[in-house]
């Protein structure tokens, strides 16, 4: 409960940051309550409901109760769904525009006045709203989607062997087809997506994910601590600051680990081809596993382990 209260206390500011249109709602409520304007019963009811729900969402205790009611699955901001902000602004705006632009006067200029009023209201909405979320596909999703198409059409093994690949490819593959199984999915790195199932990943798969991240992001990316500890202490194949041979052994070990986890189809970024090739040579020499490159597509290489 304390957590919920804190969330409700600090969430209000965060919600206000995302949209200032609450100010318009408060303005409408104040105007219609204070102006003493005669309203229809339904209009009064709408105002009363908006005010009551606004109060419930704003006060921390009632907000915390509402968060409990919405199962804690949703964050604080979602309780604002209950407040009819859009309707209140639209209804209040209609009434205000009607009165302020004198729509009852039949002087032939009512249309122009209404247009001017609407422009002013639009400016207010632009000021209080929050634009800039224009929808566009991620740039990295385009090559990843090409890989997904390639795997589905050109690699028949992809329907049986578990696929191990960088994040964008895994995301694109499952969005493109349901026929290619993955070693791990989006719930590995996205907590929101992990909420739908009780399944968790074994430590080995988490280390494989870490290793793929280092391969994808290159030398500039610092190796995660969990992976360092695993390679140094658990697998004993890597020493920090040692020569290249140590890294090749570590890479070969990770490839072996992937094969042992059931993943025999791999996708790596093309810039890591040399590193992967060295690891594959060692994999064959030490463990007898043969790895073959199937092709290259959109900046990624596809490998099959036999």
């Amino acid at each position: 409960m304390r957590e919920l209260l804190q969330s409700a206390l600090y969430g209000l500011g965060s919600y206000f940051q995302s949209s200032h249109m609450v100010v318009l709602v408060l303005g409408m409520l104040l105007y219609f309550f204070a102006a003493g304007r005669a309203l229809k019963a339904r209009e009064k009811q709408l105002l009363a409901v908006t005010a009551a729900l606004l109060a419930l969402a704003m006060f921390p205790v009632s907000a915390a109760v509402l968060m409990l009611y919405q199962t804690r699955f949703y964050s604080y901001h979602w309780i604002w769904s209950l407040v009819p902000t859009t309707l209140c602004i639209a209804w209040g705006g209609t009434m205000l525009l009607w009165d302020l632009t004198g729509q009852q006067r039949r002087d032939g200029k009512a249309g122009r006045r209404l247009a001017a009023g609407m422009a002013a209201l639009l400016a207010l909405m632009l000021l209080t709203g929050n634009l800039g979320n224009l929808r566009s596909a991620d740039k990295e999703q385009v090559p990843a989607r090409q890989v997904a198409v390639y795997l589905e059409e050109e690699v028949p093994e992809s329907r049986e062997a578990l696929l191990w690949a960088p994040r964008p490819v895994l995301e694109a593959v499952r969005r493109h087809t349901g026929k290619i199984p993955l070693l791990y999915g989006r719930n590995m790195w996205e907590p929101e997506a992990a909420a739908y199932a009780y399944d968790t990943y074994p430590m080995e798969q988490q280390r494989l994910f870490d290793w793929m991240e280092t391969i994808e992001k290159g030398d500039a990316y610092e190796m995660p601590l969990g992976l360092k500890i695993y390679l140094k202490d658990v697998a004993a194949v890597w020493e920090e600051g040692q020569e290249q041979g140590s890294q090749v052994s570590a890479d070969a070990h990770m490839l072996l680990l992937a094969a042992r986890q059931g993943s025999l189809l791999w996708v790596f970024p093309a810039q890591a081809t040399e590193r992967v090739t060295l690891a594959c040579v060692q994999l064959q020499a030490e463990y007898g596993l043969r790895v073959q490159m199937l092709g290259e597509v959109a900046g990624y290489t596809v490998w099959r382990c036999e």
Partner: protein
Amino acid sequence: MIIFLWLLLALVPWLIGAAVGAVLRWKTSEVIHMTDAWITGSLCCIGLAEALHLLGAFGHLSLGRLIMLWFCTLAVLCLLALALVAGVWRRHRERFRILPQKGGSFVLPGFFLLMVLVQVVYVYCMPAITAPGDITVETLRSFQATDGIYLVNPLTGQAYVQGMSMRYKILGLPTLYALIGSAFPVDGGVLVQNLMPVVVLAGAYMAYYRIARLLFGDDLRKKYLLLTLVAMIFWCGESAAWLDGYAALHSAWLGTSIRNLVLLPYALSLGLERDWRHTWPCMVLCVMAEACICWTFNGLGLCLLLLAVMAVLDKVSRNDLYRRLSSRVFGREEERP
């Protein structure tokens, strides 16, 4: 085929909803509005999809069988609805209002329609995005690939080890999309992220039109002005996932978006009617539809809470003490009818 799909998405819910409306108002001669009928019919379709989803998830029926059941049931419902609507139509033609009443200028309706058209083009033509936590497309693909409901984890394609949340498992929205998409050559991603948002957007404007009708009666200009402002708010407030603008333009296929854009305004409009004896079946439909598409507190979602708050306020406002207090504070007591 796409045009046929659009036609069915418009006609089937309307037909079922019109029949439900005719049955509910059998003894009265009230007008059955197109918007009300379409929303009610859509809620019935959600209910049907949910029943089939439960059959698939717990009765282990394959998706192929569910599709057959879906089309058979829909065909039977449509035939029954057609007979009923035709019967009522012959006796009381004036009860079905397909288009808004005549009168008023074309400027405001035209401007509103232009704004909606731009939004529809935007939603329909924009590339698909990955919304955080949204696994609808993956779920739809996994249903189609395995010919079953939740046979594998949608995110990996592997069987569940420890299982999934029961509260999530009973949500039938992905099955509804799978059933709609199964008979038409539409890519699952396009269906979910481009086609269904247009339908939800249309549903949202229908719900707001219903409220406008209740608030402004026959004043067409005010009604279209309200709708135009709603469209403007959608454009201006689209920065975060919990805002109506984001729901309408970026993620209208999600259960929470359908709830915020269609169900809550519809529930509010039912509450504003203050005719609980006649509107309760639609309220129940609304609450149940939310339970079928959103993760709620054991089925008690926001629609129920909203209706409860409205009922309490309604009771309070009829109280004499409140009336006297209100007249003291605001200095007025009379209400315009």
